[in-house]
Amino acid sequence: MTAMPAIPLSVGASRVVRGVRVPHVCGDPALSEDRDHELRARIVTTALNALTTPVSTPTLFEPDQTVLEEVAR
């Protein structure tokens, strides 16, 4: 989980999740508290889903909206 996916992808990390910014990888303090919570859940859930995804080479996972529905379920 990193704000700079280019680095881990370049050095061979298998599952890379794009975070927000270096000082706040897992969320965004510029957002309202509710939206920030959503974003955090989205990033972490994307990361957990990445763990269940088969990969053969360094792979980037982009946190997206759909995982939120999964969390809500």
């Binding site: 061979g12 298998s14 975070g19 706040h24 969320g27 919570h37 990033i43 859930t45 957990l48 360094p58």
Partner: protein, 350 residues
């Protein structure tokens, strides 16, 4: 006159004149003096060295019956007592390249200088880059004589203890070692010269060959998150406020474990980041969970999305960390997590 240098040459079944694929299972054998390309090699060595024997083996034999091939080569080397071993060249033939690399490694282990020749992408190089001195070749075996001449030159230098120059200057495949040299020109002159050569489509040598990045086999996916124990690791310099273990802000060589069994969320009252490579104001005044999302993971744990969060988290500072230190720490953390049956890990890199 000093005694001529004794050389043993290694060839596969094809160049050794035994035949093609049908003879690929021929075991290691010796013939006196030079054979096949060995004659051109002897020509290149001139009166400075003598090929006292040629070892020949089938490519399949050598790679598939390595346990038998190795002692056979060892025995022949002990018998022939060469001052140098020259293997190949193998060009882009992978099995032959591996065999040449193995022969060179056996010689090196006996303190006998060894030189081979092959394409930089040959399996022999990819497998044994750090151990093998190989003249860099193309894929065209009509260059044989020129390549053998280079191999002879390198071998004679090695026997005489002459220090080798950089790989591009000497024509060998880089062995993974980088060393400082003094050039004749300033860096900015070299940069301008290199750029001019490139723009004119003339040959140039880049001073950096960007290899050596890890090629990691990905772990198999988790089958079910709901059954998974998830570990947490952060390189964001997170420590209990006060930094009792004195985790450093850069060039870390240590990691620490902190108990989070009873912790639902990292708070600024209890935790801080000592990372020296980015602005930590947000982590230290607002929310340390941005560098390790414990609160979110707990929420998902409570909701049953994962089985459990591992009760300790691993913390270090990822800032100007040496690669070897990072590799060691990563290995230690991974061993401990696997020993404790952790199924998956979230690692936050800041």
């Amino acid at each position: 006159m000093a005694e001529a240098i004794r050389v043993v040459h290694y060839l596969n079944q094809f160049f050794g004149g035994m035949g093609g694929e049908a003879q690929a299972y021929e075991p290691v054998q010796v013939k006196p003096g030079p054979v096949g390309p060995g004659r051109a090699l002897q020509g290149a060595l001139g009166d400075q060295a003598t090929i006292v024997g040629t070892l020949i083996a089938g490519d399949n034999y050598f790679t598939e019956e390595l346990d038998a091939a190795k002692p056979a080569v060892e025995a022949y080397l002990d018998e022939l007592r060469p001052d140098a071993v020259i293997a190949g060249p193998a060009f882009d033939a992978g099995r032959y390249g591996l065999a040449c690399a193995e022969v060179c490694r056996i010689a090196s282990a006996r303190n006998i200088p060894a030189v081979t020749g092959m394409h930089p992408d040959n399996a022999g190089i990819l497998t044994y880059r750090n151990d093998v001195l190989a003249v860099s070749t193309g894929t065209d075996s009509t260059e044989m004589v020129a390549i053998l001449r280079q191999m002879a030159t390198l071998a004679l230098k090695r026997v005489r203890g002459t220090e080798l120059g950089p790989a591009v200057a000497e024509g060998y495949v880089p062995t993974g070692r980088r060393q400082e040299v003094m050039h004749d020109k300033y860096g900015y002159e070299r940069a301008a010269d290199m750029l001019l050569a490139r723009m004119a489509a003339k040959p140039y040598h880049s001073e950096m060959c960007l290899t050596g990045y890890d090629d990691v086999t990905p772990a198999p996916p988790l089958r079910d998150l709901k059954d998974a124990v998830i570990g947490l690791v952060s390189s964001g310099g997170l420590v209990p406020r006060g930094n009792r273990d004195r985790l450093v802000g850069s060039k870390a060589e240590q990691f620490f474990k902190y108990d989070i069994e009873q912790v639902g969320s990292l708070t600024v009252e209890e935790w801080e980041s000592v990372h020296g490579g980015f602005g930590t104001l947000i982590l230290n005044t607002k929310d340390p969970n941005y560098a390790m999302p414990l609160s979110t993971v707990r929420y998902l744990e409570d909701a049953g999305h994962i089985k459990q969060v591992y009760p300790q988290f691993f913390s270090t500072t990822g800032n100007a960390t040496a690669v070897s230190a990072a590799r060691r720490m990563g290995g230690e953390i991974a061993s401990e997590l696997t020993a404790n049956r952790v199924d998956g890990v979230l690692l936050v890199a800041t």
